[in-house]
Every structure is written in C-alpha cells, then in structure tokens.
C-alpha cells in the first residue's frame, strides 16, 4: 500500500471510508467523524453541570461545602418529607382525637390506624421496660397476656397510660401498696403463708397457720380464693402469671419485702391522641378485654396489599 502524498482522498477499500492521513507503523486512521449533535449533547452536559454547581451544594471546602443558591440539603429534604407525612396523617389524628375510645372498636378502619400509630409510639416510649414485643420482664408486666391488674379494656388501659401506677406526677394515679410483712411475721409464718398462696395453683402445701394468716391479712384485697381485686389493684394469686416470679422464694420475698413497681403517667408527656393509639395497640396484643357494654368486635385486620 504505497501512499501517494498528492492524493488527498484515499479510500480504505474494505470499509469504503476515507483515510485521515495519520499513520503509525502501517496502522492508519480512518475518517469516521462523530455526529455533530453528539458534540452538542456534550456541551449540554457541561451546561447542566454548571447550573447544578450553582444551584446545589457541590464544591467541598475545608470545613463544609459550597451551599448552592437553592439552599437544598438532604436533611432539609428529610424534614420536608416528614412534615408532609405528618400532614397526611393529620386527618386520621383528628378523627382519633374526636372519637371516644369506647367507640373506637366500632370503627374498624380507624381502630386499625390507631393500632398502627400506637405500635410506632410504643417502640419509642414503652419498649424500654415492656420490651419490643410487649412481653415485659420480671417486675414489668407482660401486655400480651390476659392478666390485668387494673383492668384490660380500652378505657382502663387508657386511664393507666394517662395517670400511671404509683406515679407521683398524677393525683389520679392508680395506687396500691402491698404491705411488707417481713418485720411482723416470723420466717415460719411467711413460709406458711407462701405455701397457702401457692396452694391456689396446686404448687404449695396449705397449712392451718397459712390459711389463718391469709384470712386475716390478705383476703381483703386478694380475696378468699386468691382471685385478686382490680379495684385495689390486687393481683390474682390463683393464676399462672406472676409479675415478680412464681417460685416459692420469690413469693416469700414479695410477702416479706414487696416490690412496688412504678408506671409513669404519660398525660403530661404525650398528647391525648398518641395515648389513645397506645391504648388501642396494647389492647390489640391479644389479651385485650371487651368493654363492659356490648360492642362490635375489635377489628385489626386490614385489606393490605401483598
């Protein structure tokens, strides 16, 4: 392939393309120009970049970065999205605020939303003591079961949430005080009493001493058969659920030097709607009791998308 310096437009036969004239060790460059619009798209990207740099944060500096004239930040965007979501929820919150909690179960859709909102609020405010699954731990009641010291219908739960238990911040707080018998009774008497208490669940030996001590000291609150009394917040002693443990040692301990757990009242810390939603959520966990007045069944199912 001899090159003729006077022939300016030589053509590569196989491809039919003109040579440019550049040659490196026998390898020659063919003239396949880029379409011009391609160049314009390149310029367009440059213009785009310049506009972007002006509008948005772009250049990293020593301690921060250029801010951009729009003042956009990812944090600001998040705040905006949160407030949009809050606005979207406002209608539901208004509805929940307006409805009396006893009428909530009659409105399954609203109930479902209340439960969902309560689940979210529970994760923020309640899991520290009651656990993520609301299963509690010794001293902190399990909210899934069907044992309620102060009542397990929606109204009772809402009241407990508002005013707490043994909570100094509220005058209406639920208050009960199991007296300590450690200094009054001898060890033998406490053993006998514990035996009688455990005999309600067939796990202890009742004795004449124990029965007598129970009749004199305990019946007023815990009832003769150990069924407890919600008015006084006296737990049932004849069931399988023990807040402070069910072993004989733990029962003796609770007779001698009782624990008195405190549940804070949330009236001053959470808004009424959140408390209402929390009550609905706790009620929905499986142990919620029907309100005294006959009501439509509690619905928490939804017709969710898969």
């Amino acid at each position: 392939m001899a090159n003729d310096p006077h022939n300016e437009t030589r053509v590569d036969q196989p491809t039919g393309t003109e040579f440019v004239g550049h040659e490196w060790d026998g390898i020659e460059e063919l003239n396949t120009p880029l379409p011009r619009w391609w160049l314009w798209t390149f310029y367009a990207t440059i213009v785009w970049a310049v506009v972007y740099v002006v509008l948005y944060p772009a250049w990293p500096l020593v301690n921060n970065a250029t801010q951009g004239v729009l003042g956009w930040t990812s944090r600001g965007q998040l705040a905006e999205e949160i407030s949009t979501a809050d606005m979207a929820r406002q209608g539901v919150r208004d509805q929940i605020a307006a409805i009396d909690i006893v009428k909530l179960p009659a409105n399954p859709e609203l109930m479902q939303r209340a439960v969902a909102g309560g689940a979210a609020a529970f994760k923020v405010n309640c899991v520290q003591c009651h656990g993520a699954g609301a299963a509690g731990s010794p001293g902190y009641p399990n909210l899934n079961d069907d044992d309620w010291i102060w009542g397990g219908d929606l109204e009772a739960i809402e009241f407990t949430l508002q005013h707490g238990i043994r909570w100094e911040g509220s005058a209406q707080t639920r208050f009960s005080l199991m007296p300590g018998f450690g200094e009054v009774f001898s060890d033998g008497q406490i053993n006998a009493l514990a035996g009688h208490v455990l005999s309600f669940t067939d796990r202890g030996q009742s004795s004449a001493t124990g029965a007598e001590l129970y009749d004199i000291n305990c019946v007023a609150c815990h009832q003769a058969n150990g069924s407890g009394n919600r008015t006084f917040g006296a737990p049932a002693l004849n069931d399988a659920i023990w807040l402070y443990g069910s072993s004989e040692a733990e029962v003796r301990q609770q007779i001698a030097v009782p624990n008195h757990g405190v549940m804070p009242g949330w009236k001053d810390r959470l808004d009424p709607v959140t408390i209402k939603m929390l009550a609905a959520y706790v009620h929905s966990l499986g142990g919620g009791e029907t309100l005294p007045a006959p009501e439509v069944a509690v619905l928490e199912e939804g017709n969710g998308q898969p």
Partner: protein, 484 residues
C-alpha cells in the same frame, strides 16, 4: 512501509454535520406492506387502552391495564399479581427470543417495519411530504433562505409534529389508568403530576427522535443494529444488491454504445433517493440499512421501465447470492426459514410460551402465608394454657369477595381465634371474609392446653365457594418448655 503521509495542512473535520434525509415517495409491495404495518402497530398502540373488558364490580373494566398504584397487571382475561411477575419476565424473555427468531428467519424485519422509531419516522416523513412536497421540493426548501413562507411552512409542520408527539405521549399514560377517566382528568387539569411529566417527556422524545433525529437513532443510539451484526450470518435474509448482476453500472445510453460491458444497474440512484435512512444499499449490508425494502420497490420500478428483470435489489441471503452469482438457480426465500437455527429459537420460544400458559392455567387463586410472632414466641395465659400468635395473609385473587375457612391441621387441643373473632368463640376453624381481589391480613391466636409440647402444625385455608381452593402452610407451636 515508508511513511510519506501528507502533512495535514487542513485537518479533517472531526464532527459531521447531520445530513437531513429527504426520501422520495415510492410505491410497491414493500411500501404497501409498510403502510399496513404502520396502520396495525399504531392502531394497536392507540386503540388498546380504550378496549373494555368486563370483570365484574370489583375490578377495572379496561382490557389492558398496568395498575401500578394497586400493583395489578390486567390483560384481557388474565390478571397478574406482583408475586407472579415471572409471567412478565417470561413474556420479556419470549420477546427477546422472538426477536432472535425473527432475525434468524427474516433478518432485520423488526427494524424495517415494526420498530416504533421506524414507524414514527415514517409518519413524520409523510408529514414532511404533505407540507413541503417530495424529495426535490424539500431539498430546495431546506436550502432556501429563511423568509416568511419558509417560516410559516416550518412552524405549521412542526406544530403537526408536536401534535402527533403529544398524542403519542398522551396514549402511553392511558395504559396505566382508566383511559376515559384519565383522558378527561388530563384536560381538566386533574390528572396526577406524574401523568403530565410522562406525557411531557414522551412528547419531547417523540418530537426530537421522530421529527429530527430519525436515522441517527438507528445508526448511533440503538444497540439493536449492533447486536444484529452478530446475529446475521450468510443464511440470513437481508436486502441485497446483486452486484454480479448490476456491475458495472452504467446508463442506458452507455450500455447501448458498449453492449456487454455494463450490468443491469443504470446508476439512477433511485435506491438511495427512497431510502428512509439514506444509505446506498449497493455498498452492501450495513448498520444503517433497516431492511424496509423500499429500495427494492424503487429498483423494481426502474427495472420494469427499462425492460430488465426485477430483483436487482432483493431480499436474499448471502449464501444464495454466492450461489446465484455462480449461475445457480435462486432459492425461494421461504427456504431460509427452515434451518436448525430457526427451529431451535422457535422451540425455545414455544416452550417458554407453553410453560407460561400451563402455569397460568393451573395457578390457584387462593393463597395462605403464615408468619409466626417471634417476640414474644409464646404467651402464658392465666389458666396456664399457652398461646402463640401468627400473622396470616389470606390472598383472594378472584374479583369477588369470598368466605374462607382457616383451620388448624394438627396440634391436638389447639383452638383458634382472631383479632376480630373473640376468644370466647375460639374453635378449631374460623371463617373470615376476604375482600375481592385483595390480601387480608389476619392476626390469629392459637391456644393449647398447658401440657402441650412444642410441635409443628399447619394452617389450612379453604375457599368456601364452589371452587373449594385450598392452601396449607406449615408453622410451629412454641411452648415454654422448648424455649431456650
């Protein structure tokens, strides 16, 4: 090799100005087929969203609907849920293999007749012809200085471009919502912002790609022609100039003067003039050739005029060309269809299609998913019995509400209730209503006597209608003894 390359006083232009293609009007079998393809493809595109299909009161009555908001895909009698997306994936695989099949059978037929870029370019080129006349008039107008007449013509033509682009973008969104409602909402300003944005973007792309970029899309943007270069072989049907017959090119006059020296090609350049992508087919198969066959129509006309046999440019395989050049008899084109490659592609394509149809036919419209509560794993009740909680998802794919029975399979002594059925009514099975075309989430509680050991059992779901569809889901009952 010495290096006597010329010094480049004037470096070649690095960027090529877009040469506007003014393709000439032509008539013939391929042009008529292109008309037909245009009418059919555009007809399908514009009319489909308006077809109604009665599915009863609980489902939309649009025949083809991609309901993204509710995550449903409707196609006539078929309804696809998100968990059945493999049907869509299968269709896409079929479309891909279908392209391979078509390519191996009839070459770049997709490019030539059915590709949206081809169809809309064709539409816009006809508009050019309508407003500015045929090829020569359009070239003249292109070169003419900008004056009142040219501005008027251009603006009116571009308005029609824009109108068609708007209709194109507008039709697209009708596939994603109830067409008559959306149509009305769109013009009353009540449609969703995303609808306007989509129409805007598609209008812009149609306007630019169909009105101005045209063959540039095929040559520079589209990957398909490049894939084609790997797909085509010597047995593929392509539009070919039969150079052994055409060369050496020469006008009729020249041929009269020197009989025997010239081939059939009279070098009239009609094949180039009618080409929508502006290529010269006589240079051989190339990326710009979409095999629309318009050059065949043009050449056949010229050959008829000069009294030479048709088919100087024709659909043929490279193998046939070699054979014919060597004096063999031409093979009928349908023979290219019958070769192992097309059979394999058709087999794979058909097998996937059959598998999809089969699974569509046997799929159940009732489904149960069970997830057990992990926290807490079990719950001790007052009376010493143990309760577990489960979240059940009951799927009803029928377009009507159905009563379904949830029952315990196994777990002796176990009783079941739900969030809406009180514990007092606990039983071995419960009936709940599942809304039409929906999944209902039910929180289920199962209680078993205190002496129950941890064990596996199953929930069964049965539709209480004549279909009696059922589904079973295994799960576990956890008790305090077995819990760590």
């Amino acid at each position: 090799m010495a290096n006597p390359s010329p010094t480049l006083d004037q470096p070649p232009e690095l960027y090529e100005k877009h040469k506007v293609i003014h393709n000439k009007r032509v008539d013939g079998p391929f042009r008529r087929f292109k008309w037909l393809a245009m009418v059919v493809t555009l007809g399908i595109y514009y009319i489909t969203p308006w077809i109604r299909w009665d599915r009863g009161p609980y489902a939309p009555d649009q025949a083809v609907l991609i309901d993204l908001a509710n995550r449903r895909f409707y196609m006539f009698g078929i309804e696809i849920w998100p968990h059945e997306f493999y049907f869509i994936a299968g269709l896409l695989v079929m479309a891909g293999i279908g392209l391979f099949l078509v390519t191996s059978a009839v070459g770049r037929a997709w490019c030539g007749y059915a590709c949206p870029q081809t169809v809309w370019t064709d539409v816009f080129q006809h508009i050019d012809r309508l407003f500015d006349g045929d090829r020569n008039a359009r070239i003249r107008l292109d070169k003419a200085p900008w004056g009142l007449s040219k501005i008027t013509r251009r603006t009116s033509k571009w308005s029609v471009y824009l109108l068609i682009s708007l209709v194109t973008g507008g039709a697209w969104i009708l596939y994603f919502a109830d067409a008559p409602t959306l149509f009305q909402d769109f013009f009353t300003g009540q449609a969703a912002p995303v609808a306007y944005a989509t129409v805007g973007i598609l209008t812009a792309t149609t306007f630019v790609l169909g009105g101005f970029m045209r063959e540039q899309v095929c040559i520079y943007m589209c990957p398909w022609p490049r894939i084609q270069t790997a797909m085509l072989d010597e047995k593929s049907l392509i539009v070919t100039y039969k150079d052994w017959r055409g060369e050496k090119r020469g006008s009729l006059k020249k041929a009269e003067k020197n009989p025997g020296e010239y081939g059939d090609c009279v070098d009239c350049l009609q094949c180039v003039a009618v080409c929508p992508t502006g290529v010269d087919i006589r240079e051989g198969a190339q990326i710009g050739c979409i095999t629309c066959g318009l050059c065949i129509d043009a050449c056949d006309q010229v050959m008829a005029d000069v009294g030479r046999p048709r088919g100087l440019i024709d659909y043929a395989t490279l193998e046939d060309c070699k054979n014919e050049a060597a004096g063999g008899a031409p093979k009928p084109p349908w023979q290219t269809l019958l070769r192992p490659r097309t059979f394999v592609y058709f087999g794979v394509w058909g097998a996937i299609g059959a598998a999809l149809l089969f699974s569509l036919g046997v799929r159940s419209h009732t489904d149960l998913t069970v997830s057990q509560d992990r926290n807490p794993p079990f719950m001790l009740m007052r009376d010493g019995s143990v309760r577990n909680a489960y979240t059940l998802r009951l799927r009803n794919m029928e377009s009507r509400p159905r009563d379904m029975e949830i029952a315990l399979d196994g777990l002796p002594g176990g009783l079941l209730w739900t969030g809406s059925i009180q514990r007092e009514n606990a039983a071995r099975s419960q009936t709940v209503e599942v809304p039409a075309d929906a999944t209902r989430t039910v929180r289920a509680y199962v209680v078993a006597p205190s002496d129950t050991a941890g064990q596996s059992f199953a929930f069964t779901l049965t539709s209480l209608d004549e279909q009696r569809e059922s589904d079973t889901s295994e799960t576990r009952f956890v008790t305090p003894e077995e819990s760590p």
